[in-house]
């Protein structure tokens, strides 16, 4: 790979159960993004990458990338596409924009993630259908296997095999939701205790409602530029230092390598660490936004991103090593658990958070002290795919 690529700014809509259409959300995020980056206008955008998972079901709309172009007045003359990789669609869009710029195809790209998931109450089952067909519809979705029971079984197996405790799961949720209490864009802005999590509705045991991310409307955008162009508009960028992905020819339950480990995350992380020159991630990473779609997910990720030995993820949170002042500040944004999870927008928002932490543009209550390196991670579907990107402040 050739050219350095930087995130030079971005913007966010309020996330939640929004009184807004899919197109409203696109326009809000686009305005916030261009408002954030002085020196970049819609006319500068050569590439547009839109992360969005199910507009066909949630908003009854296809061919959404040109719709984004039209609504925001951008005329991409190099590349335009929507990415669909379930819950990692936002990071997939970001990764393609990075690749296109790094490869010299274009200099300036807009990445926009958007999802409108909340339908009127009487149509909730329609929205849930769009979540239940993420796994193999014919052989897994048909058994009611949408995300909560699926990740509940990951939690059950992890507890069974490694002794992870119910309290440790709740510690993840309490930590992240309490960060979100200080995030004006988050869906859930209330401090939550460990007991609150354990006492919440037992949705899919052993997971309770507060172990789960939300059904969320929201969008977020980023501007990416080649180093040469970025230097013209800003002195502050989040430089993308590494990006990896892995899938082991698996999607349905029988073909996954494990129900309690995600070796694909290890492969993806090793690719990113290698590109970034990271030898010891715990020592070298300052801030991470990892895919806590459920509390158990973050615990498995501590392990399979290579931060602790297998089975010690629960202890990592219990010992405060993922707290704001811990070894790696994990999910200071509030995570999916606190911010909600508008599928295609999540990875975009995570990357924006890393950039905002680098430039100190977050409230003091959830600010990481002087971060220099960051990571974002997303899983998708049955955790069959893992996507990891590393970033650095002040490089190259």
């Amino acid at each position: 790979m050739t050219r350095s690529v930087g995130i030079v700014g971005g913007g966010h809509t309020r996330w939640g159960d929004r009184e807004a259409t899919y197109k409203d959300l696109i326009q809000e995020a686009g305005k916030a993004t261009f408002d954030d980056v002085s020196g970049v206008d819609p006319g500068d955008i050569e590439g547009l990458f839109v992360g969005s998972v199910q507009p066909e079901r949630f908003a009854f709309q296809t061919h959404v990338a040109p719709m984004v172009a039209e609504l925001l007045g951008v005329s991409p003359d190099s590349m335009i596409a929507r990415t669909e990789l379930a819950c990692a669609s936002g990071q997939a869009a970001l990764r393609y924009a990075w690749l296109a710029i790094a490869a010299g195809q274009l200099d300036t790209a807009l990445v926009l993630g958007v999802e409108k998931m909340n339908l009127p109450d009487e149509h909730a089952a329609e929205a849930q259908s769009g979540m239940t067909n993420v796994m193999d519809r014919e052989f897994d979705g048909v058994n009611g296997l949408n995300a909560p029971p699926y990740f509940a079984m990951v939690a059950q197996r992890h507890m069974h095999e490694y002794g992870t405790t119910r309290e440790q799961l709740a510690q993840v949720s309490a930590k992240n939701k309490s960060h979100a209490a200080h995030n004006e864009f988050a869906q859930f802005q209330e401090e939550v205790s460990v007991d609150d999590v354990i006492d919440s509705f037992p949705l899919s045991p052993p997971l309770c409602l507060y172990d789960c991310s939300g059904i969320t409307d929201g969008a977020a955008g980023l501007i990416l530029m080649s180093e040469e162009k970025a230097r013209e508009v800003t002195d502050e960028a989040a430089w993308i230092t590494g990006s990896g992905q892995a899938c082991f020819a698996s999607n349905s339950v029988n073909n996954l390598p494990s129900m309690s480990a995600w070796p694909q995350a290890t492969t993806a992380a090793e690719q990113a660490y290698d590109q970034a020159g990271i030898d010891d991630p715990v020592a070298e990473l300052d801030v991470a936004e990892v895919h806590d779609c459920f509390s158990i997910s973050e615990i498995v990720e501590y392990e399979d991103l290579g931060w602790v030995e297998k089975g010690e993820g629960g202890q990592f949170v219990e010992d405060g090593r993922s707290a704001l002042d811990g070894d790696i500040a994990v999910n200071p944004r509030g995570g999916l658990l606190g911010c909600g999870h508008p599928l295609g927008a999540t990875g975009v928002s995570q990357a924006l958070e890393i950039y905002n932490q680098f430039r100190g543009d977050v409230p003091a209550e959830r600010r990481v002290p002087d971060p220099e390196t960051g990571l974002i991670h997303n899983l998708s579907g049955s955790a069959s795919v893992h996507s990891v990107m590393t970033m650095a402040r002040g490089r190259p």
Binding site: Q128, N143, Q156, L203, N254
Partner: protein, 156 residues
């Protein structure tokens, strides 16, 4: 402009289209793995094995993912297995399953295959990892032009 506007009539409800009910259409007219469903009609859970390299797949296929041979044969799976993991769907059911919640869903090991399945005839609190379970076949009443079936498991 005339004051009399034409009214556009939309139905209050739209019948659940057959492709939104999660159960695949099962006959040779619709799917290359119809033999899987034909055997299931007879009460046999089966899957495909590559006649060239011997790879056993699940879910059943029409092309071997290991060697891309398209000569696959059906082999029966055991009708008894062990519960590997389980949870419940208490809310958030998709279309067509809203009236069925709460229910137990799980992962069952049958021979060398690990598959997800509904667990009937048991409450969550009564189950444990490793419990013996056995196959049951259910008939699917719904919007299709043929009789459909599917597999579930129940405590043995």
């Amino acid at each position: 402009m005339s004051d009399d506007r034409d009214a556009v009539e939309l139905p209050d409800t739209i019948e659940l289209p057959r492709l939104l009910d999660f159960y695949e259409l099962q006959t040779a007219e619709h799917t290359g793995i119809h033999e899987f469903y034909e055997r299931l009609h007879e009460g046999r859970l089966s899957t495909t094995r590559c006649s060239d390299c011997g790879d056993v797949q699940f879910p059943p296929r029409i092309v071997c993912p290991e060697c891309h041979c398209d000569d696959l044969e059906y082999v029966d799976l055991p009708g008894e297995g062990e519960l590997f993991a389980f949870s419940m769907l208490r809310a958030g059911a998709p279309l067509g399953m809203e009236d069925e919640v709460p229910f137990v869903t799980g992962i069952v090991e049958v021979g060398d295959v690990r598959l997800s399945a509904r667990i009937d005839g048991a409450e969550y609190d009564d189950l444990a990892i490793g419990d013996p379970v056995e196959l049951k076949v259910v008939e699917i009443d719904g919007p299709a032009d043929h009789e459909r079936v599917f597999y579930r498991f129940e405590p043995r």
